[in-house]
Amino acid sequence: MVDHPSPVPGRKAFAAALLAPDLPVPEGVVGRDGRPAGKRFAVYRNNVVVSLTESLKATYPAVTALLGEEYFSALARLYINAHPPQSPILSRYGAELSEFVATFAPLAAYPYLADVARFEWAWLQSYHAADAPVLAAADLAAVPPEALAGTILTAHPAASVLVSAFPVFDLVIANRFEPEASGSVDLSESQTVLFSRPDIDVMFRVIPAGTAALAAALLDGQALGNAAEQAFEADPAFDFSQGLSVLLAAGIFGGLDGRAA
């Protein structure tokens, strides 16, 4: 590949200095009448970090509430440097925050924070997912009993399962959706959450182990028979028809065997 001369030779230094406050103002960047541009260049540095921090706060309100605005902003600054956006679509910015939090040593005493971030990212994916019809229970009921075990249900684009060793649902409710509600969260509990969006509102609920295993296997594209086996493995007392009806009511399937609902 031929390396063309840049039409703006100073651009690389300008870009690098934006995220590095210890670097000097780039050469040739000046204030009024050619004076030094220290505070003026700082406006751009500030715009970049503050606007991206605001974007992360908007995506992660529960994480922000748990850490406090000040701590979250400091964390965001480190995150922005480690993972600057790679796209102008800001709704896609922040995908790596849960991993960043999980490996951030000063927060090691709060292992549930990463799952709270995973919850909020999963919620956002569901919120923006493609609009699609939902498989009706009647469509599944029309499948002949002998064909049921081999039937594959297609995943609805807005559906997902989040398995957590922590009470992630309760934590997000208390810190995002119902911050005024009183009551404490029992941190010894573990919760698996099902996300769906049959229309435009994201729905999420806690599901028990058997239902969670069934949902995970079905969303993974496995046939009903296989998925049921995994559900019974997870919970020998699993009530299959009840578990499946919960999933159908949530609207996590788009169709049958690849056919549109």
């Binding site: 870009a15 009024r32 050619g34 505070k39 260049f41 923006h128």
Partner: protein, 295 residues
Amino acid sequence: MTAAFPSRIDAALPQRAGVGLKGEHVPEILANRPDIGFFEIHAENYMEVGGAPHRHLETIRRDYPLSLHGVGLSIGGAGPLDRDHLTRLRKVADRYEPGLFSEHLAWSTHDTTYYNDLLPLPYTEATLAHVVSHINQVQDAMGRQMLLENPSTYVAFAESTLSETAFLREIVQRTGCGLLLDVNNVHVSATNHGWSAETYLSEFPLDQVQEIHLGGHAPDIDDDGLPLLIDAHDRAVDQEVWRLFALVANRVGPLPTLIEWDNDVPAWPVLLDEARSADRILSGAASRELRRAHG
């Protein structure tokens, strides 16, 4: 290409005030259908595939014209334009049939990193040729004319050899693009660089302007204690900006005019009041134009 929904109204923007569409105001807009000239959307907020934002915008588009304002194309970027992003922009435009499409004389991406700010570029023959080729590419990909917006800037470049107005004039001549005149940006940049806003406007190719932006700015000072205005879009339009707007409107006649209020977004009636103030100035300019036409 036909839109995915029938709109009751024409795509063209009226010569009235409009406002930026904010999520906070959507319930009010859907419930009461306020009398407003148009809504402006940031293209990058409508690049996901589905969900509530699209559903709401489709409903709003049935009753209002839209202007499509890109903030992430990085037309002043040193590298090539992002073709995927251009394709996404075209998709948003095809879906919502905006009356106008605009982007900025600025850059926001370098290599693969997106900085989420409208960053400044030196005005030289080399950057001019580069921006011209980018705008030609954008207009080809979009299949329509684009409007280029004058920036708010806080720094200058020692290497610049052209004034901003000469730079813009040259771009218009070479690309056939139109202009979006942000009057707040004129005031902000003029103050920050010690120019005269009136002189800037007298040198600006006003006959190419198809839309106007008005917004609020935050006052600060630079290292030398000189005034430094920040284009914050976080408050009402400043008196001086209203004065410059009236001057422009009386010179060029009424044009679609946007109130930008993107941070510390106010309650709907406050924003509507700002739009009404702009409408009064536009009506004054319209009757002036009428009197002129009738001698």
